[in-house]
Amino acid sequence: MPGIEDLYREIILDHYRTPRNRGELQPPAISSEGHNPLCGDDIRIFLDVADGVVRDVKFSGQGCSISQSSTSMMTVAIKGKTVDEVQAFVRRFKHMMTLADNDEPVDESINLGDIEALQGVVKFPVRIKCATLGWNTLLEALTEATK
């Protein structure tokens, strides 16, 4: 059995205890809501996209340490990136979570930084949904923002 320390790495607990970019953005920023049907968690992502660049991002909602810290780290990583860069970044993350779509190329040279700490989640397959909740919600918000 994988050890619990593989899951609850210090950087993950740090983002859980002190989430970054928690809050809301007012319209015209757009928002998307995601649910984890397994545990009832929900997350809302607020996205301010202008000229193809993510100017600001915030999140709200309730969730476990994995979903909250994963979303917190995600917001730090994507702020200031172009929409294309963010999409490639999400693909890289989902590839690490063993959820890559085979049809879409993954740029393995993308450095996930602190987010690499979430790799341990793969050893706890039930929790992969927790780790990806914020990311899938982000993709929905991006689609909305670039309509």
Partner: protein
């Protein structure tokens, strides 16, 4: 009901369940998820295995001896289930895929035949999704009105406005025991109130039939649904009991083989009960297994099982209070007599998903989540809870193991 002839000896009972002596990573299993699904005693495993080795054959269809023997065992199990809940006749016992399907059968068959636009259905705030969503599906199609019995602050149904809520209602469908709160509802009283208002009463008894003595005639219900897998039987099997005259008046649910007495190019005629509601090949070995589970529970008598669980509940409440005080919140009644041994709780602000993950390090198996009762979760103000549920094979040592494991969760978060 068969009279009990086995003493309630916890250690002997534990030996009946082989999974309880398996170890994961060299540590014993502490199984506290029986409200979700129960473990299986040797007698159920062996009966199903023997049946498949020696007697398995189609039922109700063939003249050969093997098929006749299989049919006898299958129908014998139906008789055992009928006696277990004191049904008037085994014709009133319908086997379904699970309890969820039994409720869907009622909504689709009885509901479609009897409810029209504007008709009202009364549910409660403590229902499982299985007793909400099928009604909402009918509501979308037919515009029926759904009403709800609210909760009191001490996790009981608030019955102060029951009479008003029941006015004009055609059916009152409610749980006998909350799978989240553990609250045991006053089923007899609710059935009587429904009837006084001219409504029929449907009881989702999934959480009570495995744990307490159930006499459908005393309850006064019109329909009762429950599942095999929560009462030591196999999964893939649910039970619908209904009053014969109501079942006879209802149109069939699923169409196909077994449920007909005649099929012509211009139509069909339904079979007699209960075949009318058992289209297709049923879960044959599972039904035989459920028969063995019923006999196993009867060996102790449901009254002793209930007494054991009251004692366990008392111990849980005391242990939690002594050890954790205000750090733990039980979402449910504090009086063991008013509840089943199913405890949803919040602990030191740790998310239930994280809590169950840490408990798993000690092989303590608890459910974390919304327990398929999202409207109720919203009302009690929690997205999710951890839930420990106990059965006849659990002991106070399991409660101690849970408390120890909870302490270790505090070390991480």
């Amino acid at each position: 009901m068969t009279s009990a002839h086995r003493d309630f000896d916890s250690m002997a009972i534990r030996r009946d369940f082989p999974i309880l002596s398996t170890q994961i990573n060299g540590k014993p299993l502490v199984y506290l998820d029986s409200a979700n699904t129960s473990q299986k005693p040797n007698i159920v495993i062996d009966t199903m295995s023997e049946f498949m080795r020696k007697t398995y054959a189609p039922i109700n269809r063939s003249a050969y001896t093997l098929a006749a023997n299989a049919t006898e065992l299958y129908e014998g199990a139906r008789n055992a289930v009928a006696k277990f809940i004191n049904a008037n006749s085994s014709q009133e016992i319908v086997f379904t895929k699970n309890a969820t399907e039994a409720l869907n059968l009622l909504v689709n068959s009885w509901g479609r035949a009897n409810l029209k636009t504007g008709d009202a259905v009364l549910l409660t705030h403590m229902e499982h999704h299985a007793n909400i969503v099928p009604w909402q599906m009918l509501q979308q199609e037919r515009g029926i009105e759904l009403r709800w019995v609210p909760l009191t602050s001490d996790y009981q149904l608030d019955l102060t406005s029951l009479e008003t809520l029941l006015t004009g209602v055609k059916v009152f469908s409610f749980t006998s025991m909350s799978n989240v709160l553990g609250t045991i509802n006053p089923v007899e009283k609710l059935c009587a109130a429904a009837h006084a208002a001219g409504a029929i009463a449907i009881v989702d008894a999934c959480q009570s039939v495995p744990h307490t003595h159930t006499d459908v005639r005393v309850l006064g219900a019109d329909f009762v649904t429950f599942s095999s897998h929560k009462m030591c039987g196999p999964s893939g099997l649910g039970v619908l009991w209904g009053r014969k005259e109501l079942l006879e008046a209802m149109p069939p649910f699923l169409g196909g083989g077994n449920m007909i007495s005649d099929v012509r190019l211009d139509g069909f005629t339904c079979a007699e009960l209960p075949a009318k509601f058992e289209a297709g090949t049923p879960a044959i070995a599972e039904v035989v297994g459920l028969g063995a589970a019923v006999n196993y529970l009867n060996d102790f008598g449901m009254t002793s099982i209930r007494q054991h669980e009251i004692a366990i509940s008392g111990y849980v409440i005391e242990k939690f209070a002594d050890r954790f005080g205000d750090d733990i919140t039980i979402h449910g009644p504090r009086n063991p007599e008013l509840r089943g041994a199913t405890f949803s709780f919040a602990f030191r602000g740790i998310h239930p998903h994280d809590l169950s993950q840490v408990l798993d390090q000690s092989n303590v198996c608890v459910r974390a989540g919304h327990h398929c009762a999202k409207p109720l979760m919203k009302i009690i103000g929690a997205n999710a809870t951890a839930r420990a549920s106990f059965y006849l094979y659990n002991t106070t040592a399991d409660v101690d193991a849970l408390a120890d494991a909870l302490d270790s969760a505090s070390d991480i978060f």
